[in-house]
Symmetry: C2
Subunit: 363 residues, 2 copies
């Protein structure tokens, strides 16, 4: 139903364009690799910058500091991409819900959507004003990167944003949003409609500011039933993808969709028009490839817990993931989830080097 | 490789044998239903008994009180099975690890397996002595049930037990056990080998004491990578299933395997010799049935969060699950996970009634 996002141009201005090429399923000399949350708490230099900033949010909202931490992992490891340092919940924060981080807990909102009136008041924020700090960071990071590797922009998915907006924070059982889903579906659809418009405007603004690929993180879609996933998450992911700039400045801007726990829905995600699908570590990459053919590129999917082991074990498990995917283009190596704060930075280095060394035989 | 567990006898002594028949894929007049954790905190009478017992563990270890709470949901709802009130971690407790429950937290062990010496000291407990309280409860419940509905026995899976034994409690990232898995796999295999022997002896003892079906809960296998799931969880589930009494007293004793988050591995689970596979709510039952044909019965899989909605919405969602499975035998209705403590008992009643009413047209 939705045509594939075919590349209209090949990036040539990038010194390392392996990520963009792999997302477009074009040949590369090796498998490119980046790591979800590669700028994060496992790095002492990140913790030092965060301490200077005072808080995670102060760090995310300061373009100078966001640029600094975005570049930190690239100084250590031969990563094939940078990813904007930000949070998946900047959009509802810009809607006025008041994002904050309680010590030792996940993100929370001061003003969660707890009644219909609050939901009816929701509007799509103008990214140019309320999210200007993100766009400034994108521009600054692009300048600092100097076309060495591409910069990935991102957002939370409409449904994942709604989870936090309605629950007020993380949840084990999603009691509030699922109660709404099953009793007032039209109200949840209203939130998701606003969210989809907001995410789309936000991602396009990131592209206009310089993001060379974009990723949508659907962290909680995997906690839905099969039917509810299609109606309340995938449908809105599709709307976002359908509206994205597919090229900017004459260059293709590939898109990646990642529903954690969404391995069962791979065929469906692969048809919404994105260039690549992110997979968590429960999925066998070879089986995934057989299921979707050459429709999309695949990104993933080493278990982040492998990084708790040893360089030798990491190398062996990297080899296993590469072998599962097999020969040919269309694989971006990554973890199946963000890197844990308890990871040794040396082990991330071992991962990156192993991917580069061991993947050459498949290209 | 492993032959299906074909029924050798049809239960005739049970007043309601729909559960056993459905697990054996034999015709029934309607779809039988039971609810994981049906004896639990959502019931005020359960909370009253638990208060009298003093703690969850005191309740589980007292056969009189365990019998009382096992029967409580059957007094309220027209459930088609009873499930033994116990904990999935009784086996490692019997190994001497010291199971306890910290207030507001999940299960923990006083003596987790933190070094190789502790692992080498592990032995298979004799269920007749160290787990006698469970077997006494099984016998008492069977007497109290008076063959109205069958009694399901259960255990945690070898891998799930190992998670708690090695982590010392629940975990978000399974850092300790996965470090062992990737650096000392032979050591983890030793634990799993002991666990598989212990679970098998325990389930067979439950069958000998009167359990008419058994279920293995693999709560954490779904957090493994595809390769690790097969090597460290499924292999040991298979060993357990292979050793189970398939009949007792001339009656078939069907087995159910439930790996939460294991939908991707359905074909593999379906071949280990169990009679039924439990599915969480992310799986489309119709798609599951097309994938495995008539190899096994399927148990599940309503999202427990549906019970937070309204009787009308519950009825509608029950109808959707029944429609997904479609016509014919081999479906046991259940939730896709245990019922939440925040559930209204009336809503469980609405679920049970809806299953019985709406399923007749499919039989």
């Amino acid at each position: 139903m939705f045509p594939r996002n075919n590349p209209v141009a090949q990036p040539t201005y990038l010194k390392n364009d392996t990520l963009i090429r792999a997302l477009l399923r074009q040949p590369t000399p090796y498998t490119p690799v980046w790591v979800m949350r590669q700028a994060g708490r496992y790095l002492p230099e990140y913790n030092a910058t965060r301490k200077r900033a005072g808080s995670f949010l102060a760090l995310a909202k300061n373009p100078d500091l966001a640029t600094e931490v975005t570049l930190q992992p690239l100084a250590r490891f031969k990563l094939d991409a940078a990813i904007l340092f930000s949070d998946i919940l900047t959009v509802p924060d810009a809607m006025g819900l008041g994002l904050y981080f309680a010590e030792g807990e996940g993100p929370k909102f001061e003003h969660p959507l707890r009644d219909e009136a609050a939901i009816r008041r929701l509007t799509v924020p103008d990214p140019g004003s309320s999210l200007g700090y993100v766009l400034d960071a994108v521009k600054q990071i692009r300048r600092a990167l100097d076309n060495t590797v591409p910069l990935i922009g991102f957002s939370g998915s409409p449904y994942t944003l709604a989870c936090y907006m309605i629950e007020g924070g993380g949840s084990d059982d999603f009691r509030i949003i699922k109660s709404m889903l099953y009793t007032r579906p039209e109200l949840l659809h209203h939130v998701l409609d606003i969210n989809a418009q907001a995410v789309l405007a936000y991602l396009n603004a990131q592209i206009e500011a310089g993001a060379q690929a974009v990723m949508v993180f659907d962290t909680w879609g995997g906690a839905l039933s099969d039917a509810a996933y299609h109606e309340f998450s995938l449908q809105y992911l599709q709307r976002v993808i359908a509206g994205l700039h597919r090229t900017w400045g004459g260059e293709a801007v590939p898109s990646i969709v990642f529903t954690k726990g969404g391995g069962l829905w791979l065929e469906d995600i692969a048809t919404i028009g994105c260039n690549a699908v992110g997979l968590d570590w429960t999925v066998n990459l070879g089986a995934a490839r057989r299921r979707i053919g050459d429709q999309v590129a695949l990104q993933g999917n080493l278990d982040p817990a492998v990084l708790f082991s040893t360089p030798a074990a990491i190398r062996s498990e990297v080899g296993a993931v590469l072998r599962q995917f097999g020969a040919g283009p269309g694989h971006v190596f990554n973890l199946g989830h963000g890197v844990s704060q308890f990871t040794s930075p040396e082990h991330v280095g071992a991962l990156v080097d192993a991917v580069h060394e061991l993947s050459r035989e498949y290209h």
